[in-house]
């Protein structure tokens, strides 16, 4: 357990699947040197295969007894998708627009497909996913090199690239498949919660760029942070697949707002909801029912009285309130100069003390 834990809340009612977060992350961290296939942040359509393909069926995480479960390492060609590019520069000279690799799979191959009978009861929603910076990380637990650590300062989970020998057990151990192997460096890399930005008081790039303002960032123990209020006060933000036993620290407001279903004659079925609650229970556990109830009642309250603190939070009026990084928390910890790109995540500027692993509670 780290001293404090940074967390992110994502409001799935407002995610429009525009992938701006994906691009913000990609251009910042993963557009070169063997990281081309990696999406530290991705947005996937649910129901769908996800990224990598069928990640929920690839094992990892812990069982109820707390034992690490075996997992499978996905393959770039079959499961992540080989990135391809087009010959844009040659099209002007009369060439046909062609991809440089035959596209057979990609991170969003089944985007917007969803499930159900169109137009009567079909549905889908988006799930943006980053590393969950778990309190009990499966990746850390499966590393035989002691190369993965959790920063005491904020609970961010990082890979010590110097210790990493590219064994890839961490990928098998992560139930979210959010650790990636860099074949060019033969080392593992993952979402770093943009800690060089965080240390400067800036939110992660994905959260900063989100056009729907669906992402809240803050410390879980900071009662004034909106993250704390959504997770602990209103209990409307829930972790994804908490049943995998890693205590993830990215929380989701479940999607409650969908159009109603149509009957056989094409008439609206009043009060119906296209997203089956069983699907949400699968993702977020039975707690999702309480969260939906709170969200619905607060929405009704807002409609009737014009007042609801929760609805005001979810409207996300200003970035300054959504991102509460406890200003100066990091700066108090030491001098704070920004290193050149790519050097800076080798070792955290403020990574003085690290918890290698804890024996549970």
């Amino acid at each position: 357990m780290s001293k404090r834990q940074l967390a992110m809340v994502m409001d799935l009612n407002k995610c429009i699947g525009c992938q701006t977060c994906t691009v913000a992350c990609k251009t910042q961290w993963t557009n070169r040197n063997g990281r081309e296939y990696m999406y530290w942040n991705n947005v996937e359509t649910y129901p769908g295969t996800g990224y990598p393909k069928n990640w929920m069926e690839l094992g990892g995480g812990f069982d109820a007894a707390g034992d690490l479960q075996d997992g499978i390492i996905p393959n770039i060609e079959a499961d992540y998708g080989v990135p391809w590019d087009y010959n844009f520069d040659k099209v002007g000279a009369g060439e046909q627009l062609t991809p440089n690799v035959e596209p057979t799979w990609g991170p969003n191959w089944d985007e917007d497909e969803g499930t159900g009978d169109f137009p009567n009861d079909n549905y889908f929603f988006y799930i943006p996913r980053i590393c969950n910076h778990c309190t009990n990380p499966g990746c850390l637990s499966s590393c035989p090199r002691d190369a993965i650590f959790k920063r005491d300062l904020d609970g961010v989970v990082l890979v010590d690239l110097d210790r990493c020998q590219g064994y890839r057990y961490c990928i098998a151990g992560c139930p979210y498949k959010k650790v990636y192997f860099n074949p060019k460096l033969s080392k593992t890399e993952k979402c770093i919660f943009c800690f060089p930005r965080i240390e400067q008081g800036l939110p992660p790039a994905c959260a900063q760029q989100c056009v729907g303002r669906i992402r809240f960032v803050g410390f879980l123990d900071d009662v004034n942070s909106q993250v704390h209020q959504l997770v602990h006060k209103y209990k409307v933000a829930l972790p994804l697949r908490a049943d995998r036993g890693t205590s993830p620290n990215v929380y989701y407001i479940p999607p409650t707002e969908t159009p109603p279903k149509f009957d056989a004659e094409g008439n609206v079925i009043e009060g119906s909801n296209r997203i089956p609650v069983e699907e949400l229970e699968k993702l977020f556990g039975s707690e999702v029912n309480g969260a939906i109830k709170t969200l619905k009642s607060e929405m009704a309250k807002r409609k009737e009285t014009g007042k609801s603190e929760l609805m005001d939070l979810l409207i996300a009026y200003s970035h300054s309130e959504m991102f509460r990084l406890d200003n100066n928390y990091y700066k108090k910890e030491g001098s704070n100069k920004l290193a050149p790109v790519d050097n800076r995540y080798l070792s955290g500027k403020h990574t003085q003390r690290i918890s290698r692993f804890s024996r549970g509670n």
Binding site: N31, R32, N33, G34, E36, Y37, G59, G60, A65, G66, D67, L68, Q69, D70, G71, I72, I73, N75, I76, E77, Y80, V82, N136, L140, S141, S142, C143, P144, R145, D146, L161, D162, R163, Q165, G166, Y167, R168, Y169, A172, G173, Y180, F181, P183, K184, L185, S186, K187, D342, N343, L346, F357, S358, R359, G360
Partner: protein, 419 residues
């Protein structure tokens, strides 16, 4: 208490030495590698050197590592039921350096290419391990990466293509965004020259280790060594890897004189997704210098014959005393597979003194660094390096010497068949 058990070990050794004196030939006798003297410098020797013809080879066995469970499902399936591998070893010395050449069968040449879309490639490889302290043959380091206060030095080479990284310098900081190539043509050219310079050799590294996860690369050039590996198709079918390592007889880490030394070998099969603990490893093997007659304690006491061990009784005693925590062979009686080290191949890669010490003084043979977070209910030891560590296993020092010998004799039979 401690002195008592030390005494009992000493007595044990005396007993078994007497036993070994009675039985000249023994089913438990370990092979001995001879290092042959050659004239001329072998500092830059590789697998192709003609000097190897001066050495006779010794066949040793490497057993599949099954003590620790690793969590890669596919790899575990591929390695389930692995048999022991034969490794042929030769050794040379020129008075300044010592060199080993090993040869083992492998059907496929698996090279980690560094291709940016190949993330499930694993490399074939081999390692040679030295004990940094070996004067007390009863207290050699744990065979897999050493143990507390008993460090090992490991030379590792993997069949990795020459790449920017991994390379000899472990340089990961210098990277260039090639997408910006038009802007930085000169810079890029310079970068490529640097890459070619840094990637001058394939993956060959020297490490020190003192327990799981503690393996740390020696980067300060304080270790002088050279490795080589080549894949060879044989004339009449089959294929082999040949690997060699040469190091000075004496360096900061290991001092080798004329006396016998313990060495261990490990090989990885990339085709079976081998890496890290998924490997075949030998027990400590004695290397002695050709023509040097020494009355060496190591050679005499090492892996003593256990001819007077009653294996049947040993099996019963193991069942009664060990099986409630340890799994071994086809026997799965422990509360959980994660409860304690699996003993299925313990006879293949453990020495007799190690097994005796493990039973009578488990606190002395703790291997630190086992990732306890993976199985929180089953700590293998308590405490840490600073405060001192206690094994979760109680000392079975109340067993009689004969009973311990019986158990050890039985444990020595626990190993996979030879391929």
């Amino acid at each position: 208490m401690m002195s008592n058990s030390t005494k009992s070990i000493k007595k044990l050794v005396a007993v078994s030495l007497a036993a070994s004196a009675i039985c000249a030939t023994s089913a438990f006798a370990s092979p001995v590698i001879k290092a042959y003297q050659v004239n001329g410098d072998i500092k830059n020797i590789g697998v192709e050197s003609s000097s190897w013809s001066k050495a006779k080879e010794t066949e040793i066995l490497a057993y599949p590592q099954t003590t620790i469970h690793l969590n890669d499902k596919k790899a575990n399936e591929l390695n389930d039921g692995n048999k022991a591998k034969k490794i042929k070893v030769k050794a040379l010395t020129d008075g300044q350096n010592i060199a080993f050449k090993i040869e083992w069968a492998d059907k496929t040449e698996s090279i980690q290419s560094g291709n940016a879309i190949k993330n499930t490639e694993f490399a074939d490889g081999f390692a040679v391990q030295f004990a940094t302290k070996y004067d007390d043959p009863l207290k050699l380091p744990y065979i897999g990466m050493g143990s507390q206060d008993r460090p090992v030095m490991v030379y590792l080479q993997k069949a990795v293509a020459k790449l920017f990284e991994p390379n000899g310098n472990g340089e990961v900081t210098m990277q260039v965004n090639r997408a910006n190539a038009p802007k930085f043509e000169k810079d890029l050219e310079r970068f490529d020259i640097d890459v070619a310079h840094l990637a001058r050799k394939s993956y060959q590294k020297a490490f020190v280790a003192e327990g799981f996860g503690s393996m740390t690369e020696i980067k300060d050039k304080s270790s002088d060594f050279l490795m080589d590996m080549k894949f060879k198709k044989k004339l009449f079918g089959g294929s082999n890897w040949e690997g060699s390592v040469v190091r000075p007889l004496n360096d900061t880490y290991v001092k080798i004189y004329n006396d016998p030394i313990p060495v261990a070998f490990a090989v990885w099969d990339g085709d079976k997704m081998n890496r890290d603990g998924l490997k075949h490893l030998s027990t400590w093997i004695i290397v002695e210098f050709d023509g040097v007659v020494s009355d060496d304690k190591l050679k005499k006491e090492f892996d003593k014959p256990l001819e007077n061990a009653n294996l049947k009784n040993g099996e019963e005693l193991t069942k009664a005393n060990c099986s409630s925590c340890h799994n071994y062979g086809a026997v799965h009686e422990a509360a959980s597979a994660y409860m304690a080290p699996n003993l299925s191949n313990i006879g293949g890669y453990s020495t007799t003194p190690y097994l005796i010490e493990s039973i009578t003084q488990p606190h002395n043979v703790i291997v630190p660094g086992y990732n306890a977070n993976a199985h929180t209910n089953f700590a293998w030891y308590y405490g840490d390096k600073e405060s001192g560590m206690t094994s979760a296993m109680p000392a079975f020092d109340y067993l009689s010497e004969q009973e311990i010998l019986d158990i050890v004799g039985y444990l020595k039979t626990l190993k996979a068949e030879v391929e």
